[in-house]
C-alpha cells in the first residue's frame, strides 16, 4: 500500500459479537481524531450507514451464527480490499461458538420448548428472522480474511497498532503486551 493521497474508506460491523470490540475501538480515545484525518467511515455503527460501499478496509467483529451474518460478511468481502477480523469471536468463534458441541435442535428445543416456565413455547419462524447456522464459525472459514486482531476484546492500543501499521504500509505486528487472546 502506498501512502494515502486521499482518505481511506473504512467500514466496520458486528456479526455474532457483543460490540465489545467496537467499544474497545473507541478506546483509542483521542487518537480517533488522528484517525479521522486519515480515514472516513462507510457502513459502521459509528455512522449508522446500513450498507457497505466500496472500501479500502473492512473490520469485522463477531463470528457467523446465522444467515444474516453470512450475508453481511459477504457484502464486506465483496466491497473491501482489505478485510480484518477483529476480536476473538471473529477470529475463532469466541463465546457464541461455545454452543458448537450441542446440536442446534437440542438448543432450540431447550430454549423455546423445554425450558422451565415457558407456556406454549414455539420456535420463531417469521421470515424476517435470520435462521441460525448449525454451528458458529469464525469468519476465515467462510471468506478469505487478510488480517486478524485477536483479543476479547483486543485493546484499543492493539487495534490502533494494526490500523496504523496498515495505513503506513507495514505488516501489522502486535508483540508482547498487545497480543492476547483474552
Amino acid at each position: 500500500m502506498t501512502a494515502p493521497i486521499k482518505k481511506l474508506k473504512v467500514a466496520t460491523t458486528s456479526l455474532a459479537g457483543c460490540f465489545g470490540c467496537h467499544m474497545s475501538f473507541l478506546d483509542i480515545d483521542e487518537r480517533l481524531l488522528d484517525l479521522v484525518q486519515l480515514v472516513e467511515f462507510d457502513r459502521s455503527p459509528l455512522t449508522d450507514i446500513k450498507t457497505c460501499g466500496p472500501c479500502d478496509i473492512g473490520i469485522i467483529e463477531g463470528g457467523l451464527c446465522n444467515a444474516e451474518n453470512v450475508h453481511v460478511l459477504r457484502e464486506f468481502r465483496a466491497n473491501c480490499t482489505i478485510l480484518i477480523a477483529m476480536g476473538a469471536c471473529s477470529v475463532n468463534g469466541g463465546l457464541p461458538a461455545q454452543r458448537n458441541h450441542l446440536s442446534l435442535p437440542v438448543i432450540l428445543e431447550e430454549v423455546y420448548h423445554a425450558q422451565h416456565g415457558l407456556v406454549d413455547g414455539f420456535i420463531p419462524n417469521d421470515p424476517e428472522l435470520p435462521l441460525p447456522l448449525d454451528k458458529v464459525h469464525p469468519i476465515h472459514e467462510v471468506v478469505k480474511v487478510d488480517y486478524f486482531i485477536p483479543g476479547c476484546p483486543p485493546s484499543g492500543d492493539a487495534i490502533w497498532k494494526v490500523l496504523t501499521d496498515l495505513l503506513a504500509g507495514r505488516q501489522p505486528e502486535l508483540g508482547h503486551g498487545l497480543i492476547h487472546y483474552d
Partner: protein
C-alpha cells in the same frame, strides 16, 4: 571452533556448552536460551510429541528435545522458516481442541497461549474441528476440561513416573486420541488423584484446574502478562 572442554554447539550463532547425554533443548535451557516447547518439561524425560521445539541441526530438521547435542553442531532455531512451521503446529493444536481463552482460568499462565504470543500467532488459520469433549467436574477439588488437551502426556508421565499412580492415560488413535482417567466410571473423583500429586501441577494448558482459585491473579499480573514466555524461567508459572 574451540577444541577446549566442555563440548559445545552453536545455537543461532551463540555457543552453547553441553554435558554428557544432554539434548539440544536441555543444554539451551541451561544456557538460558529459549526454544519454544510444550510437551518438554525439564523435570521429565524428553517425549518428542508436540514438535514445537523443532530446530535445524546441521541443516536437518529434528525435535531439539530428543536430539542429542553433538560437539560442533550448528543449530538454527529462531529463524523464519522454523518459526513459520512452529506457528502452523500451534494453529493445528488450537483448531484441534476448543481453546476459548477468555473463559479459561489458565489464561495468562498457559504455555500454549504464551507460546502462540511468542510466535505472533494472530489467528488459528485452519478450519476448526470443534470436537465435543465433555468436561469432568466430579472431583471435589479439581476440574478436568478436556477441550484444551494438547496430548503432551505430561500428566500421564507425572502420575506414572513420579506419583506412582497412573491416574491418566491416553486412549484412541490419530485425531481421536484423547486423555482418559483411571476409573471404571471414567470420572476423576473415582481415581486416587490428589491435589498433592505432581500430575496436578504439570499441565501446560488449562485441562487440570484447581477449583475455587480461578482468576485469583488480576489480568496484567499473570506470568505471561509480565514477561513473554521466552523470558520466563521454566517452570515457574503462576497458578500451575
Amino acid at each position: 571452533m574451540s577444541k577446549a572442554n566442555p563440548p559445545s554447539f552453536t545455537l543461532d550463532g551463540k555457543t552453547i556448552p553441553f554435558g554428557e547425554g544432554q539434548t539440544i533443548i536441555q543444554a539451551a535451557m541451561d544456557a538460558g536460551v529459549y526454544i519454544p516447547h510444550l510437551c518438554f518439561n525439564p523435570e521429565f524425560k524428553p517425549h518428542g510429541s508436540c514438535k514445537l521445539c523443532t530446530v535445524k541441526a546441521d541443516g536437518r530438521q529434528t525435535a531439539s528435545c530428543t536430539q542429542q547435542a553433538k560437539d560442533g553442531m550448528v543449530v538454527e532455531s529462531d529463524i523464519k522458516e522454523i518459526n513459520d512451521e512452529r506457528r502452523a503446529l500451534l494453529q493445528m493444536l488450537f483448531v484441534e481442541g476448543n481453546h476459548f481463552c477468555p473463559s479459561c482460568e489458565k489464561s495468562g499462565n498457559c504455555q500454549l497461549q504464551a507460546t502462540a504470543y511468542e510466535l505472533d500467532m494472530m489467528s488459528p488459520h485452519f478450519d476448526h474441528f470443534f470436537p465435543d469433549r465433555p468436561l469432568d467436574a466430579s472431583h471435589p477439588d479439581y476440574l478436568l476440561d478436556f477441550n484444551r488437551c494438547i496430548l503432551c502426556s505430561l500428566c500421564v508421565r507425572a502420575s506414572r513416573d513420579v506419583d506412582g499412580k497412573n491416574v491418566f492415560a491416553l486412549s484412541g488413535r490419530g485425531i481421536k486420541s484423547h486423555l482418559i482417567v483411571n476409573a471404571k466410571s471414567g470420572h476423576l473423583a473415582d481415581t486416587d488423584f490428589s491435589g498433592d500429586d505432581k500430575a496436578a501441577h504439570v499441565c501446560p494448558v488449562g485441562v487440570i484446574l484447581k477449583k475455587r482459585v480461578g482468576f485469583a491473579t488480576p489480568i496484567g499480573q499473570r506470568s505471561f502478562d509480565e514477561q513473554p514466555i521466552s523470558a520466563t524461567p521454566h517452570p515457574v508459572v503462576k497458578g500451575a
